[in-house]
């Protein structure tokens, strides 16, 4: 069983080394890839210093393209399972290991780490969502549940584990604009087993969230359009 853990990173020089060390400790058997999404700071250097392989995109392409790079790399190089987590230190690696265990045990094709799931326990220093984040989350939760008829609590979680079926799908179809939500909808519509697992998340270690109220509103609007369009996509991707 070969496993790849990849970390999409855009200007995350502050937190990245810590995240890599954390992954090495919690998942020592996995290969590690940092997808540098056109960072202008020392992200790639920090990753190499920490001993990670770096796939550097020549210019910033957005999270969706960075994640797709990871899935494509995993698919090309014959990995049986892969997982990704955020580079800002919000995602503890031991939780990623739990997601991977679900995939390697073949209980699901795609596993999402949810910080809002009923089973998620909050401790001090743990993740607390901001107000606009909470509104966005509940709107997406509602519509994604409506679209997929499957209950999702954390639609925008960037902590996921997947098997080869998901790699094949995501390396072909992955919306650059609205990666997290559309990918869930797509996976469910393709008949893949998507599962949520309650996880702990931490407050971010470095950098700041890109969400302002206006951006949140635009984000939500874009997400709804994407979901609506996604409902009219064919259910099964025809084999080429």
């Amino acid at each position: 069983m070969r496993t790849l853990v990849f970390i999409p990173a855009w200007n995350e020089e502050a937190a990245l080394a810590g995240v890599i060390a954390d992954v090495r400790k919690a998942i020592p058997e996995a290969d590690l890839l940092v997808v540098d999404d056109g960072s202008t700071d020392a992200t790639a250097e920090r990753a190499r210093e920490a001993g990670a392989l770096v796939a550097a995109l020549p210019f910033n392409q957005g999270l969706g393209a960075a994640l797709q790079t990871g899935y494509l790399y995993a698919l090309r190089n014959g990995y049986d399972a892969c997982a990704h987590l955020d580079a800002d230190g919000q995602h503890p690696a031991e939780e990623v290991a739990r997601l991977l265990a679900e995939v390697t045990a073949d209980r699901a094709d795609l596993v999402i780490g949810s910080r809002y799931h009923a089973g998620a326990v909050a401790a001090s220093g743990d993740y607390r969502p901001t107000f606009s984040r909470r509104i966005g989350t509940s709107v997406f939760r509602f519509f994604l549940t409506l679209a997929t008829r499957q209950r999702f609590t954390d639609t925008t979680s960037g902590m996921r584990a997947a098997n080869r079926r998901v790699m094949a799908l995501f390396s072909k179809h992955y919306s650059p604009d609205f990666a997290e939500i559309e990918s869930l909808q797509l996976a469910v519509r393709q008949g893949l087993r998507v599962e949520e697992l309650p996880v702990r998340m931490l407050e971010r270690a470095g950098g700041s969230s890109f969400l302002t109220p206006l951006r949140s509103a635009f984000f939500i609007f874009k997400g709804l359009v994407v979901l609506l369009v996604g409902q009219f996509r064919p259910r099964h991707v025809e084999a080429e």
């Binding site: 890839l33 770096v54 190089n77 094949a168």
Partner: protein
Amino acid sequence: MGLVLAAEAGQVHLTSQTRIVAAALALVFMLMILELIRRDRLQERYSVIWFVAGLGMLAGAAFPGLLEVFANLMGVRNTNVALFSIVLLLLLGLALNFSVIMSRQAAQITRLAQERAIEKALAEKRAGGANGNGSSGQQALEPEEERLEG
């Protein structure tokens, strides 16, 4: 001038002078397109739509009655309004066409960037870079991998 060339109902306010100017402009326009193609500044596949636009201009200049027909079809009394509407719709269609082309090219650029990033990472790994990854026998392209659409 007073030279009002009415087609049937005298509603088309195109003088022969405007018609000549319009026809000349259309011809110059199409020659420009040809020249752009000749100099490799415009690809043939993107020139078709512009030729159609040029021919439309020419047709409008040669047969002012056409405009009348369109105006009637649209239910517009004033042919000038019809003219502007047609041109506006045409431009809208062209703009949309470019957005579609742009989206396709953006997807292609993204895939190109991803391919390059992966290639470079693999080369780095082969060169025995600072990676402590263990079992990493490289495999050839997987058959299950599918090409990017569009």
